[in-house]
């Protein structure tokens, strides 16, 4: 793992192996809240924040569970930590910005069941990242998630004014755009070096 520079970890998580477009993690909020640019970017911010915190916690938990020799508890402890972090963020947003709270609606508590966050915790553990590497990995993943969400939101805002057949409207159209975006993101594959 020593050969991987921090910069490479960041680029890898955000562009080359983008969580949404290459790993298919976090598709639910991706399809759900990507209708408007503003909501999308704030959702991205909230998810990035939860990712950072839960990645740090996951590192600690993993070390602790290794020490007491109980790796089978890993999944359960991860999900509990993520759920509590999301609860915290939810209370924070409700206090700070009630408008945003309403805009995110049901998708805020659903961050708990956002695969991207649990996936991040699991991937960083299986890759054996250290503390600093984990944080960089989490911020890269968060940036990538936000980028994908904002890109899709921008495209969908434009498509609202386009004349598409009725059958295609909705999820099918969003998935088609996502497919094309995913193809174009493959162009980043050479960046890692």
């Amino acid at each position: 793992m020593k050969e991987e520079s921090l910069w490479y970890i960041f680029i890898n998580a955000s562009l080359i192996n983008n969580f949404v477009l290459a790993y298919f993690l976090g598709i639910c909020p991706f399809l759900g809240v990507s209708g408007k640019m503003e909501t999308a970017s704030k959702m991205g911010g909230a998810v990035t924040f939860v990712m950072l915190i839960s990645s740090m916690c996951a590192y600690g938990i993993h070390a602790f569970l290794e020490a007491i020799n109980a790796p089978f508890l890993q999944l359960i402890s991860f999900i509990v930590v993520i759920a509590s972090t999301v609860q915290l963020v939810e209370m924070f947003i409700r206090k700070m910005s009630p408008t945003l709270f309403r805009a995110l609606g049901i998708f805020l508590p659903l961050i708990t069941t956002n695969c991207a966050i649990l996936g991040l915790a699991l991937f960083q553990t299986s890759k054996g990242y250290g503390f600093i590497e984990s944080i960089v990995y989490a911020s890269g993943a968060g940036a990538g998630f936000t980028l994908a969400l904002v890109l899709i939101a921008g495209l969908r805002e434009k498509l609202d004014f386009a004349d598409v057949p009725n059958v295609v409207k909705g999820t099918a159209l969003t998935l088609l755009i996502a497919g094309i975006l995913s193809l174009s993101f493959m162009g980043f594959a050479g960046l890692g070096g």
């Binding site: 999900i79 649990l118 995913s182």
Partner: protein, 217 residues
Amino acid sequence: MSDTGKDKKGFFESLNQGPPTDEFIKGLWRDNPVFVQVLGMCPVLAVSNTAMNALAMGLATAFVLLMSNILVSSLRNFIPKQVRIASYILIIATFVTITDYAIQAISVDLHKALGAFISLIVVNCLILSRAEAFASKNTIGKSIMDALGMGVGFTFALLCLGAVREVFGNGTIFNFPVFPDGFQNWIVMILPAGGFFTLAIWLLIFNIAKERKAASS
């Protein structure tokens, strides 16, 4: 099924208030978790690059869904309302851990192919939504039927995607070749983008079918 008094209503209406088999059938088709409700997309797209992976993932999810539905339904009178979501997630996580270790014991290759996505069954929206929307309000028998229907529907949808992607992307189905020599594999179908495209096309087919039905009635 006796049809006394029901013959005036339509066939589907009689199904609506009908026997527990209805809970089973609705998951298969009318409320298919993937094509109609669009739930649990992450594993659907990620592991459906071959038919075998798709089948294994579908069965694993169906097992977790069944077990968690049974437990949630039998504990529905004991779990306080305020902490119900957390309790459901704990129940689900327990069964997922069991499944994870079971798959590792059965086939190491399969475990490697599915990777982190077995653990990610925990956050499959489908399972939590069935626990919250159905199992927490219904009897054990009904919940079992519901879980079986949804599980089979989910596996069916995964197979639909996996089969299409494997046939075009690899020229095989369940590792048996289907095309004559000289067939150029469509690499794009195996890549992530292919997952998006295949699902989009299936959704389109469903939409068209729905529209036809609405137009004819």
